[in-house]
Symmetry: C3
Subunit: 99 residues, 3 copies
């Protein structure tokens, strides 16, 4: 088992530029694996509830971009992303991965 | 970076009252951001496997309600929710958020 | 509150045999609850970006299989799954559950 840092970035579909963020994580930060999850409901700083139904799939839904990396690399990536993501949207914690 | 507590509440669509729970988190508990994720498969205490396909979207699928807050507020919210959510369905751990 | 270990297994739809894995977790490992989440985008070791749109739902999307159990049982399950899941795909960390 190796020590890693789990990172979750809270995003919103309407913010756009998710492909840019993924490309940045892949090419510049060289994170080996990233998964993006879409929430089905939620609310953010605005307090406006975002939700979806089968007939209403185009709303501004929450997204979470998740990855893990070594503690040193994760700390550097979080510092690199801080300016473009903004405060209060990058959560991280220590974990272990099988190897 | 600030210390926070991540909280994940395991729910099921058929339990209903998700909007009530979100409203309670928003208005009474004043959690600043909440995201709800829908699982595509899973099983709970009943041991019955719940799954979905493109032609079968109405099943009783698992939901996870996720948020983070200060350790003190998160502990209070977990205590407040315990009775209505039931034991074994609220998981939490320490994390950090960029600020 | 009881100490538990959160476990997240990173999988991919095209790998197949998800029902087998769930059955194994349920019957052999006797995990009481498991939730499977499907990512809407991501990339893995291959570096190939996987994504989806409403008209393109059949891609090889990332899946995460999540559960929690006592630290002792989780450690055993991770060891049992290591050979079939492969290195670098099972992440775990300590958490607490209400009880």
């Amino acid at each position: 088992m190796s020590e890693v840092t789990m990172v979750r970035i809270y995003w919103r579909e309407g913010k756009g530029s998710l492909p840019e963020l993924l490309q940045r994580l892949h090419e510049e930060e060289q994170v080996r694996g990233v998964t993006v999850f879409r929430g089905v409901a939620g609310y953010g700083g605005s307090g406006v509830l975002h939700t979806t139904t089968l007939v209403d799939l185009s709303l501004d839904l929450p997204l979470v971009i998740e990855f893990f990396d070594t503690p040193e690399r994760a700390a550097q990536i979080i510092a690199d992303l801080h300016d473009s993501i903004g405060p209060g949207h990058i959560v991280s914690w220590p974990a272990r991965v099988n190897d």
